[in-house]
C-alpha cells in the first residue's frame, strides 16, 4: 500500500498516512486530486478505480471516506477488508466511533493504525492482539498519569 487517506464528505482530510517518500507539495496535490475524484463518484459505483499507475480502493463509512492507494499486483478485495478491519478497531477502541473521535483523538487513530499496518503491509490482523497492544499502552499512561498527582481532572467534552 502506498498511502491511506481519511476524509469527510465535505472533503476535509482527517488522517493521512504515507508509506512512500513524497514531498509535502506532492502529497497535497495527490490529496486534492483524489478527494475530488472520489467525492464525485456515485454511491452504487464500484469501490476501485485506476488512478495514475495506482489502484484506488475506497469505502464510505457514515460521513467518512477511507481511501487506500495500492500497487498493480495488490489485491483490491483484501484491501477493502483492511479498511473494514481498521474501522472495526477504531469502533471497538472508541466505542461506536464517529468522525469527532478521530478529529479529537487523531493521535490515537495514528497509533492504532501503526499497530495494524506498518510500512503499508498488515502487521497484525487479529483484532484482539491489536487492541491488546493499544490497551497496554493506555495502561502505561494511566499509571504514569498518577505521577502527576494533585492535578485536577477536568473532563472536556
Amino acid at each position: 500500500m502506498q498511502f491511506m487517506l481519511l476524509f469527510s464528505r465535505q472533503g476535509k482530510l482527517r488522517l493521512q498516512k504515507w508509506y512512500v517518500p513524497l514531498s509535502d507539495k506532492e502529497k497535497k496535490k495527490i490529496t486534492r486530486e483524489l478527494v475530488q475524484t472520489v467525492l464525485a463518484r456515485k454511491p452504487k459505483m464500484c469501490s476501485f478505480l485506476e488512478w495514475r499507475d495506482l489502484k484506488i480502493v475506497y469505502k464510505r463509512y457514515a460521513s467518512l471516506y477511507f481511501c487506500c492507494a495500492i500497487e498493480d499486483q495488490d489485491n483490491e478485495l483484501i484491501t477493502l477488508e483492511i479498511i473494514h478491519r481498521y474501522v472495526e478497531l477504531l469502533d471497538k477502541y472508541f466505542g461506536s466511533v464517529c468522525e469527532l473521535d478521530i478529529i479529537f483523538n487523531f493521535e490515537k487513530a495514528y497509533f492504532i493504525l501503526d499497530e495494524f499496518l506498518l510500512g503499508g503491509e498488515a502487521q497484525e490482523t487479529s483484532k484482539k492482539n491489536v487492541l491488546k497492544a493499544i490497551e497496554q499502552a493506555d495502561l502505561l499512561q494511566e499509571n504514569q498519569s498518577e505521577d502527576w498527582g494533585g492535578l485536577a481532572a477536568e473532563e472536556v467534552l
Binding site: L13, F48, I78, Q141, E142
Partner: protein
Amino acid sequence: MPAVSKGDGMRGLAVFISDIRNCKSKEAEIKRINKELANIRSKFKGDKALDGYSKKKYVCKLLFIFLLGHDIDFGHMEAVNLLSSNKYTEKQIGYLFISVLVNSNSELIRLINNAIKNDLASRNPTFMCLALHCIANVGSREMAEAFAGEIPRILVAGDTMDSVKQSAALCLLRLYKTSPDLVLMGEWTSRVVHLLNDQHMGVVTAAISLITCLSQKNPDEFKTCVSLAVSRLSRIVSSASTDLQDYTYYFVPAPWLSCKLLRLLQCYPPPEDGAVKGRLVECLETILNKAQEPPKSKKVQHSNAKNAILFEAISLIIHYDSEPNLLVRACNQLGQFLQHRETNLRYLALESMCTLASSEFSHEAVKTHIETVINALKTERDVSVRQRAADLLYAMCDRSNAKQIVAEMLSYLETADYSIREEMVLKVAILAEKYAVDYSWYVDTILNLIRIAGDYVSEEVWYRVIQIVINRDDVQGYAAKTVFEALQAPACHENMVKVGGYILGEFGNLIAGDPRSSPLVQFNLLHSKFHLCSVPTRALLLSAYIKFINLFPETKATIQEVLRCDSQIRNSDVELQQRAVEYLKLSSIASTDVLATVLEEMPPFPERESSILAKLKKKKGPGAVSVSDLDEGKRDGGGELNGAGERGPESSVVSTPSPSADLLGLRSAPPVGSAAQGAGSLLVDVFSEAGPLAPASGVNDDGFLSSEDSAPPLPESDDPPCGPVPFQSFRFVCKNNGVLFENQLLQIGIKSEYRQNLGRMYLFYGNKTSVQFVNFTSTVSCPGDLQSHILCTPTKPVDPLVEGGAQLQQVLNIECLSDFSDAPLLNIRFRYGGALQNLTLKLPLTINKFFQPTEMGSQDFFQRWKQLSLPQQEAQKIFKANHSMDKEVLKAKLLGLGMALLENVDPNPENFVCAGVVQTKAQQVGCLLRLEPNIQAQMYRLTLRSSKDTVSKRLCDLLAEQF
C-alpha cells in the same frame, strides 16, 4: 496550568481543536492558528523550562496544525527531547511528530537515531516497537545506514517477543525498499524464510511481506520458501473456520495471510517437486470449490475475504499458465462473477479475465463470454467498469470475432466517456488492422472512426490508413469510392478531408469513370471543404490539386485558376503561398512527362511496427499491451495487413518505436527549393519522399523513387573497413548506460558497472529490420600497447544469427591494469540481405570509470592539494561552456564522473571540488579536481591534480568536453 483528564487527555489540545472547528471562515482559522503558533513559539523560547506534559501538548498541537495543511518549521527539537522521556505517552507523541514531519537536518537525525538506538537496546518491547515503527514510518537512508545491520538480528533472535518480531520484519521491508544495498540478508536468509513456520500467525503475516519482496529480488536465495508456503497454505485452506480463532475473519480462515502466501508463490514457477505441486493444486482446487459452496454469512465482509483469496488463487493459476483444467475452471468462475450483482466483483472479473484471455488454454473459454462483456460495455453505469469491459473485448479479440467486437466498440464510441475515447479509437484502429482479411472492411472501419470520433483520431491513425491503402492495390479503388462518399456529408471532420484529399489525389482516377464522380466533381467536392480547414489541411489539399492536374489534364484550367486567385497566391501564410506559387509554375512549365514523373503515384511504404500500437503502449505504460499483442501475433500467424508474412507489424516489436512523425516511413527529406520548411511541417510529413513540388531540385528518373525498394542506405561503407567511428566520447564519460550506436539496421545498447579496478559491460545488439543478420561477429581489440593497460574480454562469442527484431546480448569482462588514455575497439560484422556490413566503434571505456570516491574535509583537501604541486602533476584547461551551467546539472555530471563531490571545501560556493582514487591493478592514483564556473563569461577553469601526470592530463581532456 496543565490539566489531565484520564490517561493522556490533553485539555489544551481539545480546546484548541474545538476553537478551530468553531471558526466560521478560513481567515478566522488562520488567525487562530497564528495566535497558537506565536504562543507555542514563546513557550518554547521562554526562560522557564517546560515540563514533559506541556512539551507533549504543544508538540501535539503543532502536529495538528500541520495535519490541517499548514507549514510547520519549528518544534522538531522539542519533539526529539520527548523521545528520551521515560514516560511512554511523551515518547509516543515525540515519535509520532518525527514520523509525520520528517526532517532532513543532519544534527536532528543524529539525535533521533540516538534515541532510537537507546530504545532498541532497552529490551522493553513497547519501547522497541515504538522505535521500530518510527524507522518504518520514516524509512530514510540515514536510518537504513544506522539500523539495517541491527534489525535482522532482532528479527531472528530467539528471545525477541512476537510483537517486536512483527514490527522488525516490516521495518526491514521498508528499509529494503528504500536502500536495498544496505540490507544484507546473507547469513539470516534461512532463518527469515523459516519464519513462515512460526507458530504465531501474526509473525507469519508480517514476515511474509518481507519474504515476498526479498524473493522478487533474489528468487534463488529464497526458493526454499516455496514448499514452506505451500504447506502453510494447505493447513489454512483445510482448517475449519473456527480453528484459527481471532485470525478467522467473518468465517474465513486467515484471509490476509492466505492472499500473501498465494502472492509469494507468484514469484516462482510451479514447484518442481511433484508432492509439493500436488499439494498446491489441491489447495487451488479447494479454493475454487469453496467458491461454489453456499456462503457462511450474508455479510459482505465474508464474501469479500473469500473472494480476495479466490482472485489471488486465480492470479496464481494464470501465472503458472500450465494447468488447463484449473485455467478453464477459473474462467468459468469469473464468468459467473460477470453477472454478479456486486459491481466490485464484476469489475474484478473483467480485469482478471483480461489476463486469462492471453493464455492459449483459456482464450477460447474467455471468448464464450463475449455477449456478457458486450452487454457490460453497453449497460454498466460506472465508467471504470465499462473501461474494464472495453479492455477485455480488446484482449479476447481474434479473427473469429473481430468484426463483431470492432462493430460493438464503434457503436460504444458514439456515447463513450470523453476520458476513454482516445484509447478506444487506438484500440479499434489496431484491431481493424490486425484482423482485416478484406481491406474494404478495414477502410470502412477507419472512416467510421473518423466520422464518429474525429477529434480523437490522432495522426498515427489516419497516417496508417493511407499507408495501408497505398501498399494494397486491391483496396485503392474501394478506398477512393468510400472517401468520396464520406466527403458528401454536409459536415465532415477535418481528418476525413485529409484522408479524402490524399486518397483522391493518388487514386481519384480509379473512380473517375463514373460521371457521378468525374474529375471535376471530385475536385469541386474537395475544394468545397477547403475554406473550412486549417492551414496544414489546406496545404495537403493544394498538393492533392497538383496531383489532379497530372491525373486529369482536363481539370488543369480550373485548378490553375484556383491557384492563381489572390487568396492562394497572396495568402498570408507563407507555406500556402509557396505551394500555390510553385504548383502553378510547375503546372505551366513542366512537360507532361516531367509532370508525370514528379507527381507519380506514391511508392509502397516499408514495413514497420504500427506506430498506433506504439502509441497505445505509451499510453498504457510499457508491458500493458505488448504481452497479449505478441501472443495474438503468434496465434494468428501471418494474417496481418501489408503482406508482412509471418512477421506482422505487431510482432516485430523493436526496442525503438518509430516516432509519430515518421509514420509514413519517410526519412525527412531536404526542404524543396526554397520552401520554408518550418512553416508547414505537413509538407515534409506527407509528401517529402515523393517530392512532388521539386521542379528546381533536378528531378531525374530515379529521383524520389530511387531508394524505396532497395535496402536502406547505410552510413558505413562495405569492405574494406572504415576507420573507427568515434564514439561520441563525451556522452558516456559521466554515465554508464545508453545507446552507443544506431543506424537503420542495428542498434547497440550498453550497460556497464564497475567496482574497483574491475568492470563488466553488457552490449545489446538489436536487429531493427525484419530480416535476419547472418555471420554476425563482434571482436574487441586493444590496439597498440593498450592491452598492457586494460583487459577487455567477451565471456563468450556472440551467436552468428540475429533474427529480425531480435536482440543479442554480449558480456565483456574488464580489468584495468594501469592507467590508459585510448579506448578498446569493437568491430561488428554481419551480412544483411547479402551485403557485408562492417563497423568499428570505440568502446566508451574511460579511466574515470575506475574511480573510488573519497570523502574528506576542507583541511585534508588543501593539504593534499599542496602536496601535488609539481607542474606535471597538474593539468588545467580554460574553456567556453558548451552545455547548461546550471548548478544541479553540474553536480549531477560530477557525481556521474565517480569522484566524491566535496561540500563546503572551496571558499567560493560557486566552485566545485571533488576527490577520488583511480583503482588500477598496478597502483592507486589519487586525484583532486576543482571546477570554477564563471557564469557571466560562460567560461570554466578546470584543474586536475593527481600523483600521475598521464592521469591528470587524460581526465582533464575527457572532462573539458563535459561542461
